[in-house]
Symmetry: D2
């Protein structure tokens, strides 16, 4: 894998409402976790996705590819690693790894496209581009 | 795209609880729709996934790749096409297309692996293999 | 129970992603079903909730009380009865009954309050009030 | 309100996937938060709900009443207070308050019934009853 531009980690505890009849985290919930990882990655750079939306900038998921390696169970405390792999003025590529202890549960990658309030693709403001593509500055990275 | 072994169609109306702050169907919900498509594809062959689980056969999603082309909105009546692409005694590959009218909203593919109650991979009973890989027999196909 | 102003019925099939580790429909999903019932009740009167929102009218749930009598399972085909019990220019009360065959699974009631785009309570336009409180006109009722 | 037997607090950040087209936390998600509160309340007593289920003890929600006072938004960091109000050998009553800062967003109460693996009501083992009804012992209370 290429070296990520930025990396963030967060812990997520699996909720009862998120598991299925097998007692496993339902595969559709992983996408929700990845989205949480992106929110926290922005926050570590001092940005809130909520503020971007208030300014009329919306990220739309254009692609999501996921490999599920091992199941997670209710109440497991998982560790999600979210990585920014590539940023251009119109899109951002992320990669994700989800672990339970040392065990890799899932690997995924996504492409997000920036759109305006009208749903049409737009170019990222330069200030945002700089923040998203900046190398990590110290221990938060 | 290869010719599917089996094809099924169903309509799904987007629920209010499924859209996000943009008013678009949240990308994590598509996986739920695809799962519904698989349930109905089995049903058209006279099988209930629920009965398979009662017999100790579980399908686990090992891979899900999705391309999101255009957004769906609350109350849109969508048409999901679910296709069985390949069946072996230990896995099944599906492909999916989601439309709103003539507009293609999403394309996806998945790989499911059969596991037993203990979570370990198992081979499909021959009778099930025959049903899953059988060519369509008439108008249900 | 008082006589409802309006009554509507719809069928809902329990999705795999909606059940919990016990294999039962998770109790949080019932609220989603009730919301679907309200959407269909409006549609039977020729209104789309989506159009109300486009006009700047939003329904906010202020109260929801639910009694869960018996569990529903994956793939069960349920019958939801949604009833409008009371309408004033600022609120609407509904009642709900969810059945599987003859078996009553849940009873619930809710109060919705009308708000504008700013989130502040507002009075219902008279035309809407008339539609919501009108007695049923024929077989759709 | 009566004095609770036990009280616990936890923080929950509103996820993007949990808000609706108004940008508000969807009312069906509150039940998921309350369930998380119950899990953490047990954990503070040294119990894991997961272990209870492994022993064949299941809690089923028989009643949930909720008043929604003010909306929560994406990325808000909320504070949930979960209180055990009453415990008998066959049921547990909880109350809940959800705040954003000093603002009360929701108040709720629920009744849970203990059932066995067969779905039939059962009496709580004495050891569990003692833990659930014990007064708080020190700062965790």
């Amino acid at each position: 894998m290429e070296t990520p531009l930025q990396t963030g980690e967060m812990e997520i505890r699996v909720r009862y409402a998120e598991v299925d009849a097998m007692g496993y985290l339902h595969h559709a919930r992983y996408a929700v976790y990845f989205e949480m990882g992106r929110t926290e990655l922005l926050r570590a750079r001092g940005l809130r996705y909520r503020d971007l939306e208030a300014q009329g900038l919306f990220y739309v998921v254009a692609r999501l590819d996921c490999r599920f390696r091992a199941p997670a169970r209710y109440d497991d405390l998982l560790r999600l690693t979210t990585m920014t792999m590539r940023v251009t003025p119109v899109r951002v590529d992320h990669a994700y790894r989800l672990h339970h202890g040392d065990r890799l549960l899932a690997e995924a990658s996504s492409t997000l496209v920036l759109v305006g309030r009208d749903g049409h693709p737009m170019r990222m403001p330069e200030a945002l581009f700089d923040v998203l593509s900046a190398p990590p500055s110290g221990p938060a990275g």
